[in-house]
Symmetry: C2
Subunit: 330 residues, 2 copies
């Protein structure tokens, strides 16, 4: 079913058919309607390849990611797709692990296929993907990964998220707030920790470790085994750690949230909701981040100006039961 068939069926020329369908050109209203009707009847759908060849727009973008497990990329992906599907743009998913060669293959394949733009995404916002995207013939947007010079980069505002968490704990009347978090070499860990410090002061130490339940467990052990007053709240670097913390507290007979409030980070639904009690957590808004990334790369593809630099998107607090308290009163 090509436009030839439409033209033939409608008894007009190809150009007239094209103009009718695209609402361009001049022609009689009834001619236009007739062509459209016939096109609908025979189920004509324009060949995007041919169209793209001419218009230099493929209505396709590529998503490059090294987050194989997908915990971060998946919401980003969902947001991108959601934002772009209305604009007729489809998304190539390229999972490249940390393999530069594989990354290059995928980038080349995308360029061959004339993508209108590329979104680079990762699992860590202080690391670059193992492939250089700085001088590609198409626009590139970095989402949740370190970008190159003069590029557009979207990331979550971890400091604001951490403040949100600690201020929430403070508002609930908690005074001794500890922070158990991931490896200090993560930029986001340092950023969250210093925001925590700003709000909570330095009554309690920051405990750096790994992103694992076992670390949360262990850290609680080391705090509770030491002499002196115990914290009445714990702000955790992610939900896995929070889960370990909650479990460890329960095993020690410390009640959550009555005795100690716990806040997680990531709002990883499947984990946060299954913890007993369900975790109050900070959501980085990755889906919104994805949506923004999609709209941004689209804008760039269409030649609309976008000012380069890092744009931080706000986190939000998701209240469940691990802190006590109700939803944020604002």
């Amino acid at each position: 079913m090509t436009i030839h068939d439409v033209a033939a069926a409608a008894g007009v020329s190809i150009s007239t058919a094209s103009k009718a369908l695209n609402n361009t050109g001049r022609m009689g209203a009834e001619t236009r309607e007739r062509v459209k009707r016939i096109a609908g009847e025979i189920g004509f759908r324009p060949n995007a390849l041919a169209r793209g060849l001419l218009s230099k727009r493929s209505f396709t973008i590529g998503l490059l990611t090294n987050d194989t497990y997908g915990r971060f990329t998946l919401p980003v992906m969902a947001g991108i797709s959601e934002a772009l599907v209305d604009h007729g743009v489809s998304v190539f998913l390229c999972a490249i692990e940390d393999d530069p060669a594989l990354g290059q293959i995928h980038v080349d394949a995308m360029l061959d296929k004339q993508v209108d733009g590329i979104i680079a995404s990762g699992k860590r916002l202080d690391r670059r993907l193992p492939v250089d995207l700085s001088s590609l013939p198409v626009p590139v947007v970095y989402a949740f990964t370190e970008g190159s010079e003069n590029s557009v980069t979207l990331r979550s505002d971890d400091a604001q998220g951490a403040r949100l968490a600690v201020e929430w704990l403070a508002k609930l009347g908690r005074r001794r707030i500890a922070h158990i978090t991931g490896p200090e070499d993560f930029f986001s860990v340092r950023e969250r920790a210093s925001a925590y410090r700003e709000v909570a002061g330095d009554a309690e130490p920051v405990l750096y470790g790994i992103w694992a339940e076992s670390w949360g467990h262990e850290a609680v052990g080391s705090i509770w085994d030491r002499p002196g007053e115990k914290p009445d709240a714990i702000f955790c670097g992610n939900d896995q750690i929070a889960r370990g913390v909650v479990d460890a507290l329960r095993e020690r007979g410390v009640r959550v949230p009555e005795d100690v409030s716990v806040v997680g980070f990531d709002n990883w639904e499947i984990l946060a909701a299954q913890t007993r009690p369900p975790l109050t957590s900070i959501d980085m808004g990755l889906k919104e981040l994805g949506r923004e990334a999609g709209l941004t790369v689209l804008a760039l593809a269409e030649g609309r100006p976008v000012e380069p630099g890092v744009r931080k998107l706000p986190c939000r607090l998701v209240v469940r039961q691990s802190c006590g308290g109700m939803s944020p009163t604002e």
Copy 2:
């Protein structure tokens, strides 16, 4: 950079340039080499749109999925991508939730873009996607979701997986093996349960519930609170349930694996490895399933014959510490 530029730079015609690059046609060896060299130098890459327009092959396939969370789709996706990247095929990812309208939009977009085939994937193999793919002009392969009449469907062999688990427990000397699993209306639940019955007999009941840690927890409670002998092994319907089971047993002072062996299902790395002790689990081989799906849709796209029907791919046992015992001796 088009082939025109190559031809001009090499001082030959477009056709000669094309033939040189594709190793077709007849020409002097040195002409061929010169064209290739120059193409490489100026960084020529053929436009896949133009190529696809002519060849009727876009080297693109679509992956349609309603598994938003991605626990199942992600490994499948990784497998597909891995299998196809060598063949120069890129993958459109279409997340359609359970929205028929959205599904139709994505299908239309893919057809417009002339995909060579579509892989349909889901989160449940006894449910169909909310969109009809049975009479599309391109081949369709179903992976981990219910397919239509006369189609090619790939799924895991859950019965075999369940047998693997129960036989492993038996081999370790366990005699009273219970089965705590998900909702009975899942086909895979019934399939696993009847395979369990075949091997384990009916000394212990099958406990149907929901896919949640809390259910595993609760089920252990109901078993241990009843009078009479307790199981010495529990085969769980998924890793979340297994996690709840292990936690509940620990809370009751029952040692895992010394007193009771526990086997999970899904081998959901992030969960299985973080459980204490780490879970022995059944891996459905979703990545291999994805790889097979990719190769199959490619075969169909190239016109190679593939016999329709359901193909079950084997599961495998991943031994960690929740059962005791070493790796399968086989």
